[in-house]
Amino acid sequence: MKRKYIIGCALAATLCAGPALAEELTGTLKNIKETGAITIGYRDSSIPFSYLDDNQKPIGFAMDICYKIVDAVKKDLKLDKLEVKLNPVTSSTRIPLLANGTIDLECGSTTNNADRQKQISFTNTHFLTASRFVSKKSSKINSIDDLKGKSVVSTSGTTNIKQLTEANAARNLGINIIPAKDHAEAFLMVETDRAVAFVMDDILLAAFVAGSKDPDTYVISKDAFSKPEPCGIMLRKDDPAFKKVVDGATAALYQSADGQKLYDKWFMQNIPPKGLNLNAPISPVLKKAFAAPSDSPDPDSYKAM
């Protein structure tokens, strides 16, 4: 089956005198085959999806999924070995770095929404979270309206800070929004009383609270800024061949028993580096999403049966 893809008049000659393949390789797959390497973008503090352990190596739920994708790509391209390069990204650099070719896959906890799909694509959803905020119990902040006039921090480049900004304008709360470079910095601001609350995906908040020096001093709000939204691994837009391989790999993983085991490994058991256990059993919506993998940006399509 041939696939013709018109990229531009300047198509560099292929570096390798490739064996006669039935399909013409295009886009990312072509690049991977030519360079023999795939680059993964990782986060440094999105526990438990993608974060650095004690030896500064990136590990996590999303990282493991990505490695499975790499195996699938390797098999698909029939390569003997495929070098995996790792490139750190932050919430604000992940999309530009994906678009400009620095990374091929972004493995973290990126929210999948229609706006972002104009620039990049997502593969099948691997988690669903809602935006909540964490604050110290002593601040006595129980609802979003209690944040009125206070300093609230969130990580730049996330949907969470966007939702916070919009809620601030819509409800006229006069919140002083502080953007932080990454989640660890933002949580540190709450820890040191520079901000009263940190708005982020609830699972990430739970991980930070559990790993902090004094977990009992914090409380995660019941109020949410959004419905549970899907998170997915990102890849470049307009690259159907690569997307097919990635989707296939993720779907196969989620639907098999390995998917459930992988989930338990990161959410129900002790995780490095401090051995904390998030104790977050798989939610019904996610169970459904695993059984029927989808990359839809619409939170409503994930409602449990």
Binding site: N31, L52, P88, T93, P96, N100, T102
Partner: protein, 230 residues
Amino acid sequence: MFANFDFDVIRRSLGYLFFEGMTFTLTLTGLGALGGLIFGTLIALMRLSGLRLLGRIAGLYVDLMRSLPLVLVIFWFYFLVPYLGQWLTGSSRPVRVGAFTSSLVTFIMFEAAYFSEIMRAGIQSISKGQPAAANALGLTYGQTMRYVVLPQAFRNMLPVLLTQTIVLFQDTSLVYVLSIPDFLGAASKVAQRDGRLVEMYLFAAAVYFMISSAASFSVRRLQARISIVR
């Protein structure tokens, strides 16, 4: 006041800080200064070449780079370099560049503007007799520059060039905005992971201070030694 500070965190992370962070910073400084000097000299020569168009282009480049904050230039190049690579190599997709390469390109391009001004001052400070004598001896423009003018200009401006390199050394800390792991970035990562901001930032400040002071002191000594009595 310093009672519950944990200075041991510095000792534990020394390896990471110096082997990964400081080597990144020093390599970036060294290569950036070298590349900036070469490129800067070229630009200075363009401006002094007497060809109006070349001079204008070089002048515009220098003015542009000197008007923009380094942080903005870092952002520009970080996102732009792969597209530039694509355009230069005529490939079908943006070229993959790592954080180090993109930072290096940024600093070379940025510092070239500053180095070019220094070299321009250096070249202009050479008495007109020198290139005139070279011309009389039958040397071409290229030979004049290479054997007569540039070595003298370089020697005259060496202290200023070295001072600019020290400034470059300090400016490399700005790659922090992209979470690139230079020395300050590494210190920050440890600080945020262990919640030890005070200790790590004070340590980083002390290290930068010691290196910069030692370097400035050496430059001052050098200046005293090689100053040519006129």
